[in-house]
Symmetry: C2
Subunit: 94 residues, 2 copies
DNA sequence: ATTAATTATAGCACAAATGCTATAATTAAT
DNA sequence: ATTAATTATAGCATTTGTGCTATAATTAAT
């Protein structure tokens, strides 16, 4: 797996190892759709059952969400699953 | 979040908590595409850098893979990301 | 039927996702 | 400018994803 280390900028930050670009693109896409559908993060949290902190962590690309979380997000946002992946990655990654 | 507990059938099995149906659908879709593209699990493992056991665990729906793993799979299989999500879930879930 | 290849399991170690709770920072309303 | 709402951080506990290695089970070749 092509892993990028997310080196901590501040002392105390965790070291996260995952694909930065994809996670970032997903974060942006999610936020875009959430806003378009007129939801606040809290609303998503409430309706999905996910925690508010988790929503924020995903939108700020701090974590690498799991498939089931992604399912729940699509369901809550009322969008088809593939919509959340409707973005381009750099050729190297795809 | 609509969570289904995967109750251990055999003594010693882990208890996994995630959305069974989605994970299962994804597993099937992944295998379908892998076969169609003419890959063995080992080839995917080798070319993706993911472990062979991980590929098997995903295809047998034993785990709830992360987004970065899904990215790597799409990239390795040479399919657009949304293709991996081209399946229908039950109305209750979507 | 044997053998080889492929797929599935298993257990361990470690990193990371998630919920929870609280708080800070930012943005929007008034 | 204050206040309210929203979003971002943080730390902790728990569960789980992932790699690794080995082995079993299944399937394909010969």
């Amino acid at each position: 797996m092509k892993l990028s280390a997310m080196i901590p900028k501040q002392k105390g930050d965790r070291i996260l190892i995952f694909d930065e670009e994809g996670i970032k693109s997903f974060a942006i896409q999610l936020q875009k759709i959430r806003i378009k559908e007129g939801f606040s993060q809290s609303q998503i949290a409430f309706e999905s059952g996910l925690s508010l902190s988790q929503i924020a962590r995903i939108e700020t690309a701090r974590i690498n969400p799991t498939l089931s979380t992604i399912f729940v997000l699509a369901w809550t946002l009322n969008v088809p699953l593939p919509d959340l992946f409707n973005f381009q990655l750099s050729p190297k990654e795809r």
